[in-house]
Symmetry: C2
Subunit: 249 residues, 2 copies
């Protein structure tokens, strides 16, 4: 398979490099990633400055670094750089979860959505981090095996999948659950402080109020499963249309 | 009504100022907006620098300027700044359309989505610009009348609506259509150039390939109607779940 690989943690992040190393054994991997960390950039794109691409030699192989966002990388790769169209776009492995409505803020997921917009099946892949658990190997091998087993189904079905790995060693992972996105709320979002010149400022922070709804991605992770959520990109609330048409405008 | 007003074009943009002027006659308006232009920031949030809020006196009244994204403004307003919770969040009026899957890139829409996440009904409001048409008055009065006529329905129904105005004078507008998001594709996305030092760079550009699908927002605008699309925030593709559960994982 020909795979476009990107992320939002930047070129040197451990997750994407581990995945590159594992996937390159069987696949042609084109890695095009942001030159620096781009977390929480949502689906931002770069319209007002020129984009540049630099070749960089990594341990896993050659990669291209872009001075832009994850979405920029995917657009640029698919529309200008790659010698041939890939079969699949993979974004990740992200350092940290992309669960529930947090996917809206996620550069990792946005890069996959961008690939999907441009007509490609796509996977957003994230590892939930906890304490010092930072082992991307299980995730990388999982994706590799998934492609061997179900690669053609994913490609033919043009799926857009959001995959999260639980923060536990591979041998403790209980299996895979097909899930839906949970609703995550944050409480105490801001930490208000006073700077040395007496001026107020705010840090965005807050603790997550998990709703562990049945069949949700959040619950699957909590129970030690890999969570796979199929995503759609039509934000229209079709159910509300008939009701709104009855209102006077 | 108590209204939180924000945008992504920044504090001094004509659209938000026109809307503020019109809405303040009947409503209590809290304007909290980015201190500079933040278009195409998607749903970016600011985690790695402190946010600051500055009071600014505008012609329409007092506003608060934030050194962050549209989503930052809404989070900060609703969770830290506003003296009392608003009834409604309005983002706009944006200078330019937010139609079809472009809503994914839109700071305007993301600000409304953020309000909705935090439990508030919300409107994203945009004016399609064409040639020299830049008259935000019709849009501002339309929103004002909409609130008089359907304000309680919008608030009680907790709607998240994406509203676009066509680029024509108010007296030529044919009415309102309840629409769904179209699919917008871009072709020739990148303009590749060589800088004076012989290095390649790219401008993101491209022309829109409109698909004027029946009942879509794009078609409504083209025909001279105001387009109102109800949005949802669950990106789960529920239809694909049963099929994916049949696959071996």
């Amino acid at each position: 398979m020909k795979i476009l690989l990107t992320n939002d943690d930047g070129l040197y992040a451990p997750g994407i490099n581990r995945l590159y190393q594992v996937l390159k054994e069987k696949h042609t991997v084109y890695m095009v990633a942001p030159e620096r960390e781009m977390s929480a950039t949502g689906h931002a794109i770069t319209l007002h400055k020129p984009l540049r691409v630099k070749e960089v030699e990594l341990e896993a192989g050659i990669a291209r670094a872009v001075n832009g966002t994850p979405s920029d990388c995917v657009k640029l790769a698919l529309e200008a750089i790659l010698p041939t169209p890939p079969d699949l776009v993979i974004s990740g492995i992200n350092s940290g979860p992309n669960l529930g409505n947090d996917v809206f803020y996620s550069g990792t997921v946005s890069a996959a959505v961008e690939g999907f917009f441009l007509g490609y099946p796509a996977l957003a892949v994230s590892l939930v981090l906890e304490d010092d658990f930072r082992d991307f190997s299980f995730g990388a091998y999982y994706i590799n095996e998934l492609l061997s087993r179900n690669g053609s189904k994913i490609v033919d079905g043009k799926y857009l999948l959001n995959i999260n790995f639980p923060p536990i060693p591979g041998e403790e992972v209980k299996g895979t659950k097909i899930t839906r996105l949970s609703k995550r709320n944050y409480s105490n979002i801001f930490d208000q402080r006073i700077d040395p010149r007496g001026q107020k400022y705010y840090w965005m922070t807050g603790s997550i109020e998990e709703k562990e709804e049945k069949e949700s991605d959040t619950l699957a992770i909590k129970e030690g499963f890999v969570s796979v959520t199929p995503l759609c990109v039509d934000l229209t609330n079709h159910q509300e249309i008939p009701e709104l048409r009855k209102m006077e405008w």
